[in-house]
């Protein structure tokens, strides 16, 4: 609780690092790195939202491509058969105009090319895809069931890679912040060697001196964090107004990530200040 207790101005002033130019840099770096990490985390959360939406859309639809000469009666029979399967919510056969639109990128203007018949299914996660494949192939050996699982896996890998990259960048940002704070505390306290000596001679414990330093870093980091949060949220607000499409993916988690990362960075700064000050006090005094 000593960390939160109010300290006498004499003690605070004795070890004040406020006039140290390195120390002032902590606020600026905190704003900059907090903003970068906040935006990075927001991007990661937004990507996760985008991926989840897309994955949901992909997983909830299955297309079955049948040969153009498949009889309407057999197709209707298959459709009815599939409708009874567990995990199938709806099965419709796309009309020829819809198929034409769908196939246009592949057929171009070749109007003579026979178009396949397509069954479009709305499914749930309960669908047994192997059983579906078997039923379709039993009726139409040449049919193709559109299975997106491989593609989903590939996309998931890419998404995870991007997310890991973001986490790695965040770690680098944390390390940079830790190095800045550590150097600041080392330089600041070495410049205050006389004050440190006097405080020790009048009976200051290592813990007391550490609190004096850490509280100053906390105050600086808090200002920087507030700046980073405002800057980060402002950036998101501007981005979503310039590109309204982004709003779809800006869930609560995106805003939360923008605010949380600078706070984590502040925690890193305070922890580093504590460790660095203990190190300097024990080594120098």
């Amino acid at each position: 609780m000593r960390f939160l207790a109010s300290l006498d101005p004499s003690a605070r002033k004795a070890l004040s690092l406020r006039k140290d130019s390195f120390f002032r840099l902590v606020v600026v770096m905190m704003v900059l790195l907090g903003w970068i990490s906040g935006i990075g985390a927001a991007g990661m959360a937004g990507l996760q939202n985008l991926y989840a939406d897309w994955q949901l859309a992909q997983k909830s639809r299955v297309s079955i491509y049948l040969m153009p000469d498949s009889s309407a009666e057999e197709v209707a029979h298959l459709r009815d058969d599939l409708s009874t399967m567990k995990g199938v919510r709806d099965v419709i056969e796309l009309d020829q105009h819809a198929v034409k639109v769908l196939m246009k990128p592949y057929t171009r203007d070749d109007v003579l090319l026979p178009l396949p018949r397509i069954l479009d299914m709305a499914v749930t996660s309960e669908l047994d895809r192997a059983a579906l494949q078997k039923r379709v192939v039993d009726s139409f050996p040449m049919a193709e069931v559109d299975d997106v699982r491989d593609m989903l896996k590939a996309v998931a890998t890419v998404v995870r890679f991007v997310q890991m990259l973001t986490v790695a960048l965040a770690l680098i940002v944390f390390m940079v912040m830790a190095v800045i704070v550590s150097l600041t505390v080392h330089a600041g306290l070495r410049g205050k060697k006389a004050a440190l000596d006097v405080l020790q001679y009048v009976g200051a414990t290592d813990a007391f001196l550490t609190v004096l330093v850490t509280r100053q870093v906390l105050a600086q980091a808090f200002i920087g964090t507030a700046g980073a949060v405002v800057l980060g949220c402002g950036s998101l607000a501007v981005a979503s107004s310039v590109w309204p499409a982004l709003q779809t993916f800006m869930g609560t988690n995106v805003w939360l990530a923008t605010c949380a990362m600078p706070v984590v960075l502040m925690a890193v700064a305070v922890l580093t200040a504590r460790v660095a000050s203990i190190h300097v006090i024990r080594k120098e005094v």
Binding site: L7, P9, S10, A14, V202, G203
Partner: protein
């Protein structure tokens, strides 16, 4: 209160000990001088007393505790019961006189109104009541010395150690400072003063611990 049992100290860079086989004791409430030529080992004894260095041999007991093996926090707590007066004052220039003097009381929390009053009273006592809001750079040598004395005694220490407290001031100021120490001693503070000033020793007689060639002998001054 303080006991040196065969205490020696050898600096890392030296071949021979700076002080060797010291044996003496300071009783509670006593007043002693520490005399000796420059380089005789007075500073080494002082540094051991405020635990800046620890004996390399023998046992040193301060306030009944053997300093060997004390944790850093224990040393800090023992120092709170001491007043240390350095020859170079060691006042912090970026603090006012009042803030410098408040430092020993500010190690736990904000000063209470009683403690603030106590700081003001002590500054009045040393004659700096009118200069408490000035910075040390604006004070004369004697005033700095008195500010340092005020800081050393503000927490009513059980032991006061002073290194050449009259070395930087004129004779009148030196006598005034010695009167302050006598008054503190009358209130029960144990005092050890390192000095070269024979006149001071003559005017304010007390036993002197004389250190020569790293060893201490006790001289009674009538």
């Amino acid at each position: 209160m303080i006991r040196f049992d065969n205490v020696s100290y050898t600096y890392q860079t030296a071949d021979t000990p700076a002080v060797f086989n010291l044996n003496f004791e300071l009783e509670e409430g006593s007043f002693h001088y520490l005399t000796g030529a420059s380089g005789a080992g007075k500073t080494t004894i002082f540094r051991m007393l405020y635990m800046d260095i620890l004996p390399t041999a023998g046992e040193l007991h301060i306030f009944g505790r053997n300093v060997a093996g004390l944790e850093r926090d224990d040393i800090a707590r023992l120092r709170r019961r001491m007043g240390i007066l350095f020859q170079d004052f060691r006042l912090l220039d970026h603090l006012t006189v009042r803030e410098n003097v408040s430092l020993p009381l500010s190690l736990q929390r904000c000063l209470t109104p009683e403690e603030e009053k106590c700081v003001a009273e002590i500054l009045d006592w040393v004659g700096l009541g009118q200069k408490m809001d000035q910075h040390p750079a604006m004070l004369s040598g004697g005033e700095k010395q008195r500010a340092a004395i005020a800081r050393a005694v503000v927490n009513r220490p059980a032991l006061l150690i002073a290194d050449e407290p009259t070395g930087n001031v004129d004779q009148a100021m030196g006598r005034r400072i010695m009167h302050l120490f006598n008054e503190l001693n009358r209130h029960g503070t144990t005092i050890l003063i390192a000095t070269h000033d024979q006149q001071i020793i003559k005017d304010f007689p007390a036993p002197a611990l004389h250190i020569a060639e790293g060893q201490v002998s006790v001289r009674k001054v009538a």
